[in-house]
């Protein structure tokens, strides 16, 4: 099979990785990442088991339950993003896009929650919701 494993960055392409790194298309590099993929798959399975186990153990504090469940979910999501989605080793442009996304997502969530106890002005009777 005459499959060309040439560098997909292309000749003369700007590569903003400051460090000297393996060729991302070399079979050795891919073999190494496959091991990582399997490990992350294992972590995700383990994380799911942990989340469900936590439900059956039943933590008395509701706030604690929510915090632990979301922490595990965030760690799992972090592994998916960093390894499966190759974010641990990406171009600056994508980090820039994601930085904007985080900014707007935090704004969206924050503004919504900030307005949680707001009531439309004309529905108030003596300053309290009718």
């Amino acid at each position: 099979m005459s499959h060309d494993h040439s560098h997909s960055h292309g000749p003369g392409a700007a590569c903003d990785h400051g460090h000297a790194h393996d060729d991302h298309n070399s079979p050795e590099y891919i073999q190494k990442t496959i091991k990582k993929y399997m490990m992350v798959g294992g972590i995700l399975f383990g994380g799911t088991v942990l989340t469900v186990a936590m439900y059956y153990v039943h933590i008395p504090s509701v706030a604690m339950t929510i915090a632990v469940a979301l922490l595990i979910a965030t760690v799992k999501a972090g592994f998916v993003a960093a390894v499966f989605m190759h974010l641990s080793d990406e171009r600056k442009m994508i980090y820039g896009i994601l930085l904007c996304t985080v900014f707007f997502l935090v704004g969206l969530m924050g503004l919504t929650l900030w307005a949680m106890n707001d009531y439309p002005f004309f529905t108030l009777v003596d300053g309290k919701p009718a």
């Binding site: 060309d4 960055h9 929650l113």
Partner: protein, 298 residues
């Protein structure tokens, strides 16, 4: 016409164009699901009553495993292309699509169970108590119905008072119809209907069907979006996620079925297409990683 930068990176971005495109798209997807998540939080925190245990945890856990497995297989399909192994690519991609269909299959069973499961609210407290006794026995009937209510809304830690007007009787209609309503039963000229109440909390008993007069019923609803705020947001978010699974599966299936052609024409471009499709697929998995604990566990 040759599409520029389908394989080579653009000098200014350092990326092939499709990768930049998919990340911009995923950024918009984050906002879409983010809006729904914040709506969920707002609705839940400001609700007087929020039900628990309405969905099956083992089923949700199974589907979580299915999606995680599909994330591993889709990234392996890309790695196989990079290693020049076309048959391995096909195997992994087929496995990914099988996982997607498996997820949707299980989800459709979950939905069907909801669409045929009903709550009945009665006209007044006295009428409600009459039916609770008919369902669960003269002596314990009211207590069993109250217990179902308390456990559904996790009221054991609160001082919420029992209000028979609010308490619904959950169960199944005769013939397991989909989406039946008070109006649809009335227009079918039914004056009474057979109703099999759910088992008392924490048991697997099979209460006998009771006969309910339509005139005694205030409201009757299957577990559909209009049933309650809970089901409205549950179906909105999970159905949108389900559509993403379906859309992803269609695109990945297209890559699988046109793989031979692209492998001959431009294997590097095929690998890039699969990488971009995979990025979308991982995002769908990532959304589920948050949905699962929020919907099923908390």
């Amino acid at each position: 016409m040759e599409i520029p930068y389908a394989v080579k990176s653009r000098p200014d971005t350092g990326l092939y164009n499709a990768k930049l495109g998919i990340w911009l798209f995923l950024a918009s997807e984050v906002m879409l699901f983010g809006g729904l998540f914040s709506a969920y939080i707002l609705l839940r925190v400001s609700a007087d009553l929020w039900p628990h245990g309405m969905v099956s945890i083992p089923v949700g856990t199974f589907n979580t495993f299915v999606l995680i497995a599909s994330s591993v297989t889709v990234v392996m399909s890309w790695a196989s292309l990079k290693l020049g192994r076309l048959p391995a690519f096909k195997g992994y991609m087929a496995a990914t699509i099988a996982c997607a269909l498996g997820f949707l299959f299980v989800k459709s069973f979950e939905y069907h169970a909801k669409f045929t499961h009903y709550d009945v609210w009665f006209k007044d407290a006295a009428t409600a108590e009459k039916y609770f006794k008919a369902a669960y026995g003269e002596e314990k009937g009211v207590e069993v119905a109250r217990k179902l209510f308390v456990e559904r809304f996790h009221l054991h830690n609160t001082k919420a008072t029992y209000d028979a007007n609010q308490v619904q009787l959950p169960g199944h209609l005769e013939g397991n119809p989909l989406f039946a309503t008070h109006r649809s039963l009335a227009s079918a000229k039914k004056e009474t209907f057979q109703f099999t109440p759910d088992a008392p909390f924490g048991t697997h008993d099979h209460p006998k069907a009771i006969e309910v007069k339509l005139a005694d019923v205030e409201r009757l609803s299957a577990y559909v979006p209009k049933h309650s705020t809970y089901f409205a947001i549950y179906f909105t978010i999970t159905a949108l996620h389900g559509l993403h699974v379906l859309g992803g599966a269609i695109v990945l299936a297209y890559f699988l079925f046109t793989a031979d052609k692209w492998w001959k024409k431009n294997p590097e471009q095929l690998a890039n297409r699969v990488e971009v499709g995979g990025l979308f697929w991982h995002f769908v998995d990532l959304v589920w990683i948050f949905l699962f604990p929020i919907i099923y566990l908390l």
